[in-house]
Symmetry: C2
């Protein structure tokens, strides 16, 4: 396999390298692309030093002969360079929101709709938003028991969702506060340390943020369920790199907790931590850096006999970004065999 | 007025003193009670030094001649000393969960059910749980427009809910991490800095925690609405002293956003911060130390035509504890005039 990473020096780009390091995939070539600023940097990958990061330009020769290009450098870069990146036949797996809702670009979470990856006429496959990915992995086994009609979800999103500099800013703010200094704010609209910011991405006309609307729209597309309605409240919390979600679902028929637990236990990509005792539930600090979507706190919805409530945590940089994209490539490779 | 504070040196006890400092109430005497450890301490109150904190004992003489006793020293202390505290005719306003669900003890939030305070045959009035207080203040104006049937709520609860030592532990953990040290954990079941703990109070048989069941049960009692069903997920977050809640309500009839906004604007105890722009919503860091319940992010529920979603933030130590208790006393004093 010949692989490119575009945005190699960013938080997600670096996570791509860590995921690919141990991915069950023979990699004959790894080509790294980045901004002018990061051009020339090298990294260690599978025991060797990589070729230097190349500055991303519109030269199609740069992308000749590639199988997959993992792209995570923001929506504008994805739009501007998509034609170049795919010109040599590479499948572009795009981490931005640029193409997610395009009808000719599949939006894929392998555990949910892996086969959609084969319907990519433009050579572009979109990786969903991090909050959507971990939610749909958890919704799928329930939806298979009985179609989900409504979802209410409150998110607790880590700084990592805003990139490596945002993570550094949160740590820096905490250190400044500990030293009695006034914390510097630049990446978020307000201090994030010891605070919550109920505002991720820009506001849309209906009062929801675009982040919240991504959960609404992307879930319908990935799950092939136009009637599945999601209402989300997305909140940035002072956590470094795993997102948590408090979720309520309403299904067509009443489900027992045993049925739901059984479905989660068998589900691909999910680890259940669900004991009614101290530490018997997933927490973001514990699961940072790991691959699965962790589910716990499973309960009947006290306000709805057809409702189930649970808590889902996943590493935003892994399953929420780099890992899911690599899993899409692996799904394609394995199905082709 | 002759006032006692039981648990005077705790986080809530200290907040009682700050609230009473400026409360519109003539205070002729302030008697402070605490554990053996805090006995003897003095504080500055309304420009003078207080009498030393007395060790709480079962001597009825200590509570003779009092009008109100504000009690915040845990449920066991409240149960053990309630008879002594009320023996001289004082109204005990209890901050613990000890008596909240007793049929002969009213559970009062003045903006919602102030008159219930006059039906206290045992001389005990219970102050609701902090998360419930701020939620019912926000539910009331909607419920008055059209009865609420269902509530889904995800909480983002500050360290202050677990007391002054918990707040200190969160700050200490953050400082230790900034210095590269391993953070010490003693107050919570896990490190809270840079983490979330979806577990507050003990687990109950149905998988909900007692904190979550408080929101379910107390809301029915305060709002006189046995059919109003609340499903809560309560989560501790690394914030110092204000609780935030993502709330969805379903009402009997469909409400417009204008109606809901209008009702919030007129409602007692609520401040609306609801603009679709950066900082156009309440955040816990900004509102710590202030009195109202702040409401923002008001939207139609995309999954339910009879649903409304919003975000509510209030200082856990003020409206969530000390302030509400003092407001109960003021409500009684003013109605008696």
């Amino acid at each position: 396999m010949k692989i490119a990473i575009v945005g190699a020096s960013g938080a997600v780009g670096q996570e791509f390298m860590r995921v690919l390091e141990t991915a069950p995939m023979e990699i004959d070539e790894l080509r790294l692309f980045g901004s002018k600023r990061s051009a020339g940097r090298t990294y260690t990958f599978r025991g060797a030093t990589t070729e230097p990061v190349r500055e991303l330009t519109s030269n199609p020769a740069d992308f000749a002969g590639l199988d997959f290009a993992f792209v995570s450098a923001g929506g504008d870069v994805s739009k501007q360079y998509a034609d170049v990146i795919t010109s040599g036949g590479a499948i572009m797996i795009d981490n931005s929101s640029a193409f997610r809702m395009d009808s000719d670009v599949p939006l894929v979470v392998p555990e949910v709709n892996g086969d959609d990856a084969f319907n990519a006429p433009r050579g572009i496959i979109a990786n969903p938003n991090c909050t959507t990915i971990q939610m749909v992995v958890a919704l799928k086994p329930i939806h298979d028991l009985s179609p989900i009609r409504r979802v209410h979800v409150a998110t607790y999103q880590a700084a990592s969702g805003a990139g490596a500099t945002a993570m550094a800013e949160l740590e820096h703010q905490s250190a400044q506060i500990a030293r009695g200094e006034k914390p510097e704010v630049s990446k978020f609209v307000s201090q994030l340390a010891f605070n919550l910011i109920p505002h991720i991405d820009v506001f849309t006309e209906n009062g929801y943020t675009r982040e919240e609307m991504k959960m609404h729209l992307e879930t319908k597309k990935i799950m092939h369920a136009p009637e599945l309605e999601v209402s989300a409240t997305c909140v940035r919390v002072p956590v470094l790199r795993a997102h948590s979600e408090a979720i309520w679902v309403e299904t067509e028929r009443e489900l027992s907790l045993d049925e739901v637990r059984g479905a989660f236990e068998k589900a691909e990509g999910i680890v259940l931590i669900d004991r009614c005792e101290a530490l018997g539930y997933p927490m973001p600090l514990d699961i940072a850096g790991s691959d699965p979507v962790y589910v716990g706190r499973i309960r009947s919805d006290l306000s709805n006999s057809k409702g189930i409530s649970f808590w889902a945590v996943a590493d935003q940089l892994r399953k929420g970004a780099a890992l899911n994209a690599v899993q899409i490539a692996l799904y394609i490779i394995n199905k082709r065999k």
